[in-house]
């Protein structure tokens, strides 16, 4: 294999891993604070739609980004209200977020633009153009979120408290720190990150929104989060690995190996899911989630 192909594959792996990474870090923040989030997919989707619509109307990708993040945070707050304030079932709320996002983006998109849910194609300033090495600025913003997440969660007072809330909220409460406040901040940070991922999809990677354009990336991000065992640097590794698999699958379409023949694309597409199930089964290592994840916190009376 020559160097040209390697560079191409690496480049597209990076491109494909950025939305995964954004959603994965979003899940990391949320779950580290004790709020399970299977609504990553839905939040990315609303952000992708709001981002593309905003960029189209105002003619600026950055304004689109603002709209995307706003929409994603709004959905994150619905999830937060249900799971933190109302102490509802976090899984159920996540499923609802995903369905709401899929339905609303399609309906509103169709009503506004009448193109089967698509936004009009974005061009010029409405898209993020190349910033460095042929990648848009959003790529670097998302990459920068990795060391930031690592530093804040591992080295700052806020981050340590946030992680404590995900392990033993009663202890944090006893110390006089607001469990609710910390969890809401985590959920909002998750919303911002999902917003970055979604807007990247529709305004940087593609030129406009397509119905259901996240196509399960939110769930692969969830798989990557488990793979990374809820830590920031491994999250980068896991997302890049899954992005690389995706890039290889694209490259191998119709390629025949000597002796083996054609490897079905689906076999490579199935790998992230399969690897996650195997990891969860505890065959190779063990993935242990934050202890209080999924459990609503109730102050003792």
């Amino acid at each position: 294999m020559d160097l040209g192909i390697l560079v191409t594959v690496f480049d597209s792996a990076l491109r494909l891993s950025i939305p995964l990474l954004a959603a994965c870090l979003a899940g990391l923040w949320s779950e580290r604070s004790g709020v399970v989030d299977i609504g990553l997919e839905g939040k990315m989707l609303v952000a992708a739609f709001a981002g593309a619509a905003g960029a189209y109307v105002f003619g600026s990708a950055w304004i689109g980004l603002g709209f995307g993040i706003f929409a994603s945070v709004a959905f994150a707050l619905i999830h937060g209200f249900a799971s933190i304030s109302q102490r509802g079932n976090q899984i159920v709320s996540g499923v609802a977020i995903n369905m709401l996002a899929a339905g609303l983006t399609a309906i509103v998109g169709n009503a506004w633009y009448g193109q089967g849910g698509r936004t009009p194609p974005l061009e010029g300033d409405q898209r993020f153009d190349d910033f460095l090495f042929g990648h848009s600025a959003l790529v670097f913003v998302v990459l920068l979120a990795v060391p930031l997440t690592w530093f804040i969660l591992g080295r700052t007072r806020f981050g340590l408290r946030l992680r404590a809330v995900g392990e033993n909220p009663a202890a944090v409460d006893t110390a006089g720190i607001s469990v609710t406040g910390l969890r809401y901040s985590a959920v909002i940070i998750g919303g911002v990150l999902c917003g970055l991922g979604g807007v990247y999809l529709s305004v940087a990677q593609a030129a406009g929104f397509l119905p259901n354009m996240t196509t399960g990336r939110g769930f692969i991000a969830l798989a990557a989060l488990i793979f990374a065992k809820w830590r920031a640097w491994p999250a980068l590794g896991a997302c890049f690995l899954f992005g690389l698999l995706d890039a290889i699958a694209n490259q191998l379409q119709g390629f025949s190996f000597p002796g083996i023949g054609e490897v079905p694309v689906q076999a490579i597409q199935a790998l992230p899911y399969l690897m996650t199930v195997i990891l969860l089964a505890g065959v190779i290592g063990k993935a242990i989630p934050p202890r209080a994840a999924g459990v609503p916190y109730v102050k003792e009376r």
């Binding site: 977020i97 899911y273 996650t276």
Partner: protein
């Protein structure tokens, strides 16, 4: 856990779900308003399309059949304290099982094909649910995550098989050849015609009756049998179950097997009853609607049938509505489903507190 909210049983089982559904429709109405359409006209088209004609009613019941099966599937797992969001994948595998059985066992006498097809659907659905069930019970892998992964694995698998293995060589479409005629579950209008009664033709087929029978059997199982009791004990308190001599691991696997088999009913209705072949994406997201149905129906078969009828009305009426008012596409049903899941599931406490508050007021006034 938070303090239980005290209220009479009728309020808990009927009033609270009813209020959350009404609230969901109010919000859906706002969505319709915001895209510049009239919600009242929309409701009229919706009801007319789903209940106004015999044909419409047939289609409504056809969709309801799908939802009864996936709703029961979610409910059985729910009683065991499990959240099975793998209905999509289980139904997909069930469809694969049906197609493999019906297109390969053609040497069997014709009258055996329908039962064999149904059993194959149940067996494949059950097997696809049993693996996450086993991993939850024995290895502690979280069932929600594994069933999500299994949904995606199923969709990747079915694409591969339909495109590369099962497709008719001459056909461009990724679908199998048609099932043998003896394996096609009769349409209701044909059944009625045998007795000389003419009803409007629709996709409604005898699987609807199977769905009603399954609902009754699940009611017997959950509320009247030893196994059902064990399932409910494990669901409400696994520690107590162990002290009572019940093995939670065993019950978890059994509940998931049952759940997956029930999800297979979706494949029976869609493929054996209507499409008569295996094709891509026949599950159409109904597996997720099953969650809304089960939550709204309080995981009780009667509630599930009622909730399924409501969603049947929404799906059939929604199709007619999209025809009359193109701005309101069928995605509206997905939105309503999402809001109902949010209200009846995650925000349940909000409505319960509201109802409890309203019910307790007269007492205070009298005191």
């Amino acid at each position: 856990m938070s303090a239980p909210i005290e209220m009479p049983k009728w309020a808990d089982t009927i009033l609270v779900p009813a209020i959350s559904v009404v609230a969901a429709f109010l919000i859906a109405g706002l969505v319709v308003l915001s895209i510049g359409e009239n919600p009242l006209t929309a409701t009229r088209y919706l009801l007319q399309g789903s209940l106004g004609t015999g044909e419409g009613l047939g289609f409504t019941l056809f969709y309801a059949t799908d939802f009864i099966f996936v709703g029961l599937a979610v409910a059985v797992a729910y009683h065991a304290g499990l959240f099975n969001i793998g209905g999509e994948g289980q139904a997909t595998l069930a469809g694969l099982g049906t197609a493999l059985a019906l297109n390969n066992l053609t040497f069997l006498p014709g009258f055996l094909l329908i039962p064999v097809g149904i059993l194959a659907a149940a067996a494949f659905g059950a097997a696809w649910a049993a693996i996450p069930g086993y991993l939850q019970a024995k290895r502690g892998s979280h069932i929600v995550i594994t069933t999500i992964m299994f949904n995606w694995l199923a969709s990747v698998l079915i694409v591969y098989l339909l495109v590369n293995v099962l497709r008719e060589p001459q056909s461009m479409n990724p679908e199998t050849r048609a099932f043998p005629e003896a394996a096609q579950i009769p349409f209701m209008h044909d059944v009625f015609a045998w007795f000389g009664i003419t009803i409007p033709s629709s996709q409604l087929n005898l699987t609807f009756v199977l769905a009603l029978i399954s609902s009754y059997l699940i009611w017997l199982l959950i509320y009247r049998s030893r196994l059902g009791y064990a399932i409910r004990v494990v669901g409400s308190n696994p520690t107590a179950a162990v002290y009572a001599g019940i093995s939670p691991a065993r019950i978890i696997i059994i509940a998931m097997v049952l759940s997956g088999a029930l999800a297979g009913g979706l494949a029976v209705n869609e493929l054996m009853g209507y499409q008569h072949r295996l094709l891509l994406e026949f599950t159409a997201g109904y597996g997720f609607v099953g969650i809304a149905v089960a939550l709204m129906g309080r995981a009780h078969p009667v509630g599930i049938i009622l909730a399924s009828l409501l969603f049947g009305i929404l799906y059939q009426g929604g199709a007619e509505l999209a025809f009359e008012q193109p701005a309101i596409t069928r995605d509206m049903v997905v939105v309503i489903g999402g809001i109902i899941i949010l209200f009846a599931g995650a925000l349940d406490g909000l409505f319960r507190r509201l109802v409890a508050h309203l019910l307790s007021r007269p007492k205070l006034a009298g005191a």
